[in-house]
């Protein structure tokens, strides 16, 4: 398990509050729509998992890593930290999430 020192800033994230995040899953692939941002996106499995966590409650990066690490194989765990950072940046750029 990775320690929180991998995310030295330990930023917390939340769903962008100016709207509602809606999700639909088709054949294992996820589509999201944020009523505030007004756009629909087909997101990666990691992004879908991040959004699912944040829909339940505000999370910091270490907490997200911990939640997601339960969903991936040991091999994929090595890539998860980098993938999580990229995903958070991507979702922020799409105005779906924001630092809390």
């Amino acid at each position: 398990m990775m320690s929180t020192s991998t995310f030295p800033e330990t930023r917390s994230w939340r769903i962008a509050p100016a709207g509602q995040l809606l999700t639909a899953e088709f054949d294992g692939q996820t589509v999201v729509y944020h009523t505030g941002a007004g756009h629909t996106h087909w997101v990666s499995p990691v992004a879908a998992a991040v959004l699912n966590c944040l829909k339940r409650s505000l999370h910091d990066e270490a907490g997200l890593y911990e939640s997601l690490s339960e969903l991936v194989s040991q091999e994929d765990l090595l890539m998860l930290a980098e993938s999580l950072r990229e995903t958070l940046d991507h979702l922020k750029n799409l105005s779906l999430i924001e630092p809390a």
């Binding site: 809606l22 639909a24 088709f26 589509v31 729509y33 996106h41 087909w42």
Partner: protein, 300 residues
């Protein structure tokens, strides 16, 4: 119930001058015009459509000559909705095309009791196929050919998704064909009845294909989705259907909806139900005959 064909020329012209309540699927258009192309377009292409006497209208529209010198010099027409003109005046011989585009504009802008998607819809054996597609992909040509080959036309332009039940509602209006597609469909079927051509429009030459009697008589009969097929005409390719991810189809449909964002969660859920019920495909074809065979196989 009176239909356009039940009126004499004189009666139809008088009705149009006063305002004719044309019903097309769930909409009643109150149409006012004294222009010949509008008269002849309605006479020929909407002959089987009912005229409502209920006095309740969804849209008040008109196609008229502007009251200026252009009445005589290179005459123009202007489309109006509720006495406002959303478009610039067009040459007089574009009057019927202007009416059709204006009707589309009304539905796209105001029919928010449906989820409206930019796509053609046809039905066979109780299931509907929806055809979205980029301009130039061959959607209208394929729609016209299918409608002349045993498929019931629901719409060639705007799919109407019921927000409560998810069914697709027909409008049964004429198919808008452009440029070379007009010749292709004229050659394809001797049953094809066209309106007059409008030349040099912003879409080139356009003409409208009359919907079949069956299409019009069943304009109150909605249908559940069966398939979403993205057609693309490509020279020298055999007709081929390939699976397309539903998630990708959802995003495309959302981006090509007229009112998905206006509807918010209601639109999202309506589209989710529609895509969940549908099988989704990309479809490449070069010959209409091959395309029709592929669609026959799909529907049986």
């Amino acid at each position: 119930m009176m239909r356009i064909r039940d009126f004499s020329d004189r009666e139809l012209a008088d009705r149009l001058a006063q305002g004719l309540d044309l019903r097309t699927g769930p909409f009643i258009f109150h149409i006012q015009s004294r222009d010949d192309p509008v008269f002849s377009g309605l006479r020929r292409l909407y002959a089987d459509f009912p005229v409502s006497e209920a006095g309740v209208r969804d849209f008040h529209i008109s196609v008229c000559r502007p009251a200026n010198l252009r009445r005589w010099y290179r005459p123009q027409v202007v489309f109006k909705h509720d006495r406002e003109s959303p478009f610039k005046p067009l040459p007089a011989n574009h009057a019927f095309a202007s009416l059709e585009w204006g009707m589309n504009w009304c539905i796209a802008g105001y029919a928010h009791h449906f989820l409206t998607l930019h796509a053609a819809v046809l039905e066979r054996n109780g299931r509907a196929v929806m055809l979205p597609g980029e301009p130039g992909a061959g959607k209208s040509t394929l729609t016209a050919a299918l409608s002349l080959s045993g498929w019931r036309l629901l719409t060639d332009e705007t799919a109407l998704v019921d927000l409560d039940t998810g069914v697709l509602w027909p409008m049964a209006r004429p198919v808008n064909l452009k440029n070379h597609s007009i010749d292709i469909i004229q050659a394809f079927s001797s049953d094809a009845v066209f309106g007059d051509k409008a030349f040099d429009t912003h879409k080139g030459t356009v003409s409208h294909l009359k919907p079949s009697l069956d299409t019009v008589m069943r304009m109150d009969e909605p249908c559940r989705i069966g398939w979403v097929v993205f057609p693309r005409w490509q020279a020298d390719l055999p007709a081929r259907l390939t699976r397309r991810p539903r998630a990708d189809t959802f995003v495309y449909a959302a981006e090509n909806s007229f009112n998905y964002s206006v509807l918010g969660e209601t639109g999202f859920r309506a589209l989710e139900r529609l895509i969940r019920e549908a099988e989704c495909f990309d479809f490449h074809y070069s010959r209409l005959e091959d395309a029709l065979l592929a669609f026959d196989r799909l529907s049986t």
